[in-house]
Amino acid sequence: MAPPPSGAIAGGAPFSLRSSHRHYGEKVIQILLGSCALVSVVTTLGIVVSLVFPALEFFAEVSPVDFFTGTVWAPLFDPASFGVVPLLVGTLSVTFWALLVAIPLGLGSAIYLSEYATSRRRVVLKPMLEILAGIPTVVYGYFALTAVTPLLRQIGIQVEIFNVIAGGLVMGVMLIPTIASLSEDAMAAVPQGLRDGAYALGADKLQVSTRVIVPAAMSGIIASFVLGVSRAIGETLIVLIAVGQQAKLTFNPLESIETMTAFIGATGNGDLPTGSTEYKTIFAVGLTLFVITLVMNIISIRLVRKYREVYD
């Protein structure tokens, strides 16, 4: 946006903010940057294509009704059975225990950091929560199998070696930073005026936190829960290591079950003959997983946008 030549004004010609000569290099750079942005579109396309076509081939061999309503999952046995319900129930069961830990602890940490902690404490405590988020999931899986399950047995809870509850609880710990940091963002976005108004009316911190801040930040807090659910459903290594690979239709947290991700992780490592129905199951389960998490993410993005619109 170079200034227009001074002659343009003296001559009475239309005043233009455009540069007097074209910068072709500038256009090339813009196109280069734009094509880098296309990589993410190609990735999405690649994911959809790689999931949908094998899944369609799978559903040509196994009826979708049998797949989504069948209660026996035994794709590698003879006769094979492809009812995905046990995997869905298994995923749901682990997610439930994870959220039971992550929602109260994550929300509690967020309220403390946003409303109670002095800024000096926050500077120390927030990076420590971030360390929890930085620990690889294979480490959490190891921790669940070798530390939490033995502890549960010591205190008298008769769990199998692979069980839902140890994996679920540890996954909950993994999710605490996700829920805490998103919820805290939402609470920090609540205008100071709302706090000041409530304090001026004689409210204490408990009342301000629970009756003003949390309701005002609700859409952001719910978004953090939804994202937590999505991450719990998609988490693979913890369930693969600590929850096991036995597709059973049960909500009993003391037993071993199989989740969608554990099935994909355990089956997809190259032992199966390409093109067999068993092999295509990976993609059918993968597509189911992808669609579920996609819906969760869209809900979460909408909710975050909602609170940003209200307060920005």
């Binding site: 750079i29 994550g106 360390i131 930085g134 999931t137 294979v138 290594l237």
Partner: protein
Amino acid sequence: MTVRRVRAWMFQALMILSLAISMGALVWLLVGTFVKGLPALDMKLFTNPPSSVPEEAGARPAILATLYIAVLVLLFSLPIGVATAIYLEEYARKERWYNRFLEVNIQNLAAVPAIVYGILGLAFIVRGIGVGRVLLAGGLILTLVVLPTVIISAREALRAVPDSIREGGYALGATRWQVISRQVLPASIPGIATGSILALSRALGETAPLLLIGALTYVAFDPTILGPFTALPVQIYTWVKLPDAGFQQLAAAAIIVLLAIVLGMNAVAIFLRSRFRQKW
């Protein structure tokens, strides 16, 4: 004390307790792993290949492969990620549908489970498109996994540069690219570095996508870019699955190495962020 003050005090105690439990779990995990793994943490881990005898086994090929992967992911994700962020922040007009689509698409990709990226890799490798079950494929898949994170954090870093900097440049007659490359980008380097280091540390700890593209193999020799490979987190998974107590201890020792790499990078990122936080 009134009932109200007791309630307020109890609530505050509960909030502190929830943070304390989270920290307690972290300490338990770290201390427990260190106590168990430290005896097995010796030079063998860095010099020996895996073996069926726990006393002989090491993780040299896996550690080397993880270092190679780090270089590959950085090499691919940083230029593409930063270029995408510059396009979206500095060039894209928000009212165009394709730019809004790009944005939503990246947000969604950021939350796609990592194992789904593994399926993407599997589909292309098995169909003969792509490079095969080799280290380069692992680097490419992990690049795709962390690319949305790199883009989102680079965008935040660019957005933090105030418009007055850009306008000052334009007022002096600079073109758009001159303003970006000489003013905006240098000012946002600490933010971009923080985000990229965090993303890279996530890539190095990621296991699930690598399982699907065949990193779960026995590799006894130093890896090459176009050869079979196993990465450090996959090696840990392999050892955790073996019932022998010796391998459990090896897993703990390898976890110490992995945590040192990953948490070390996290610490650098957090330090960069607090050191270079710029107030405009």
